[in-house]
């Protein structure tokens, strides 16, 4: 019953073709530099584009030596810099978390949405709004963090019950099942409580606005810690992708690698949820794009994902600012609605979706 999507087992023939596609180290390093350059350009665009015309000179001054008396520089300082930083933090976190999840679950579908982490954050936010009457984002976001953590632990715990421990299939199914239960609890609470529902439906969309600088400062240590852990996991994920038995044979401590991965994912997903709300799809799509460039080596897929995901998130945010004036479309809507097009193209292009 369990198909290749869940098992991720590879035929010997696919392996050799992957080898052929793997690029040499200098090329990959140059590519990463190019990706960083694109990211810098995106950051600049994110600072420059938006409602309220700001001259480019004011943008640069607003960043480096702001004069808050000038309206344009005030906008840059108060609105666009936090928004851009939020995009960088949330994007890097989502890209890395998605990659680690897909590697550990050996499943190209794994992402925070499918593995129940988003649902955990949502249910905690809803309960905090509804039961404690929180109204300000800075109050309930920490519940989002806690919810993501508990949901991840639950999924991992349930997925590792039974004799053979956490197999990819069981993780994916446990994630989908847990997600369904938590979503139902969310619905049950919201359907009884009109006011909470009204707040929740905006939070659910995911947005980079309305996060003040304090929150970003508080969250960034979590992102940094999670990112360091995730980037160190490259060799372990490479071994895990060969299957548990082979990984053990190569001297990997499979259980430990999974545990560290889970820790990294919780830190990263929780932080991303705190910063931007439950943004789906970035964690799913970006690792696929990164693998297309790098081949299957996780030591390269991870840094590429970390750079490409903020590019995707910031571009989506910029598009959302200009696409429907005078209002804005929330970034979560844009990533999913626009992001699914290149994703489908990617999936179609490849003969087989490898990990």
């Amino acid at each position: 019953m369990s198909g290749p999507v869940l098992q991720g087992t590879k035929e010997p023939t696919t392996r050799t073709s992957e080898r052929r596609r793997a690029r040499s180290r200098p090329v990959l390093a140059l590519g990463l530099l190019a990706a960083v350059a694109v990211l810098l350009l995106t950051v600049l665009a994110s600072l420059a584009v938006g409602s309220g015309d700001v001259a480019l000179a004011d943008v640069l001054d607003g960043v480096f030596h702001p004069d808050l008396g000038v309206k344009g520089q005030l906008i840059v300082q108060e609105v666009r810099i936090p928004r851009t930083v939020a995009g960088l933090l949330a994007g890097a976190a989502l890209g890395l978390a998605g990659t680690v999840m897909q590697g550990v679950a050996r499943n190209p579908l794994a992402d925070p949405q499918l593995l129940g982490v988003n649902a955990g954050a949502s249910v905690a936010v809803v309960c905090s709004i509804s039961f404690f009457g929180f109204t300000v984002v800075t109050q309930y976001i920490w519940f989002g963090f806690l919810g993501a953590l508990l949901a991840a632990l639950l999924v991992y715990g349930v997925g590792s019950l039974g004799r053979e421990g956490a197999t990819p299939v069981k993780l994916a199914l446990a994630g989908a099942a847990t997600s369904a239960v938590l979503t139902s609890v969310t619905s049950a609470v919201l359907l009884q409580d009109r006011e909470s529902y009204d707040r929740f439906r905006f939070w659910q969309l995911g947005t980079l606005t309305a996060r003040d600088a304090d929150v970003l400062w508080q969250v960034s240590p979590f992102v940094v810690a999670g990112a360091v852990l995730a980037l160190l996991l490259g060799p372990q994920l490479n071994a895990l992708s060969l299957g548990d038995d082979l990984a053990r044979g190569l001297g990997q401590r499979v259980g430990l690698a999974r545990l560290v991965s889970a820790l990294a994912v919780v830190l990263l997903c929780g932080a991303a949820t705190v910063v931007a709300g439950p943004i789906g799809f970035v964690g799913l799509a970006v690792p696929h794009a990164a693998r297309l460039i790098t081949g299957p080596d996780y030591r390269w897929v991870l840094p590429y994902s970390m750079v490409l995901a903020p590019v995707m998130l910031l571009v989506a945010d910029i598009v959302g600012r200009v696409v429907a004036p005078p209002g804005e479309v929330q970034v979560g809507v844009v990533t999913a609605a626009i992001g699914c097009v290149p994703f489908i193209w990617l999936v179609r292009r490849r003969k087989q979706v490898e990990l």
């Binding site: 369990s2 198909g3 869940l6 439906r201 789906g280 799809f281 699914c340 179609r348």
Partner: protein, 357 residues
Amino acid sequence: MTGTRLGETPDARLADAVRTVARVRDRGRRRSVVVVAGLLAAVVAVFAVSLSVGDMVLPLGTVVETLFGGGDGGSRFVVLELRLPRALLAVLVGVGFGLSGAVFQSLLRNPLASPDIIGISAGASAVAVTASLLFQVSGLALSGSALSGSMAAGAAIYLLAWRQGVAGQRLVLIGVGFGTGLSSVVWYVMARSDTTDAQEAYLWLTGTLNGRSWGQVWPLLTALAVLVPLTALAARALGPLRLGDDAAAGLGARVERDRLALLGCATALAGVATAAAGPVGFVAFVAGPIARRLVPGRGAALPHAALTGALIVLVADLGAQHLLPSVQLPVGVVTSIIGAPYLLLLLARANRGGSGG
């Protein structure tokens, strides 16, 4: 295989082997029939309970009498107008989702490939929510838009996944991506609407049987009367297709045509069920795995999955009506809350590695 014994001819050994195989097959068949009978009995029992329990508790005798034309005016109204259509609808919706999910999962050989995950339900939701919130569509037209949404999503996913044939895992991946895009549209439309309207749309999205009557039963019954036999007919190709495309083609199956027929039936089943009750969560997802666990080694176990789906929705709707006094939960909330832990239990008890599902 025992060694050759003295005085035993090859013919006798062959006959012995044939008998063994037949015995094992018989055992499987017997178990399958017993499970069907058990599920059917459970469905009938819960059905009876749901007709008799409520604000006004009617003894089973009165219920039966009323069903056959007796009873006083009050019990006639309660049983025939309020409870019977709702219970019937629960059964039909469950059959639709259960069957649809089992076909998708076994056809695409992936336990995650149920219509709620690969974007079919998201298509129904996107069109229905947009129609009701932006164009104030309601009633049967709303059901129609849900059905057309699911069919359009199914067709789009199939076409997008087409590349000299449709491979299971490409279809699942594309379905998940497409579905995510569609659900973000749903959330966006809801965020832009008036609170009351959005609240109502949210209730529909959860899946509910509240306030349903004969008006929803007849269209669904008609649709299932057509679709279930069609699915049964198409499902004869399921056995070969489960072996993989090459093997199936070798066995003489016309792989792409058979798969299209099955996908069409499964999409339509999910669509008509969604049109009647909204995208009731999780029924399509769990009915198949539970049914297969009840009759191991019997392939897709479609009748079992259909009955399992019916049982889940019936029990869930009974719970949704009476679990909390004064609160009418939507059935979709309860299906997930009772269905998911059961799936998790099955997972936890699965002993063979990687076979969960």
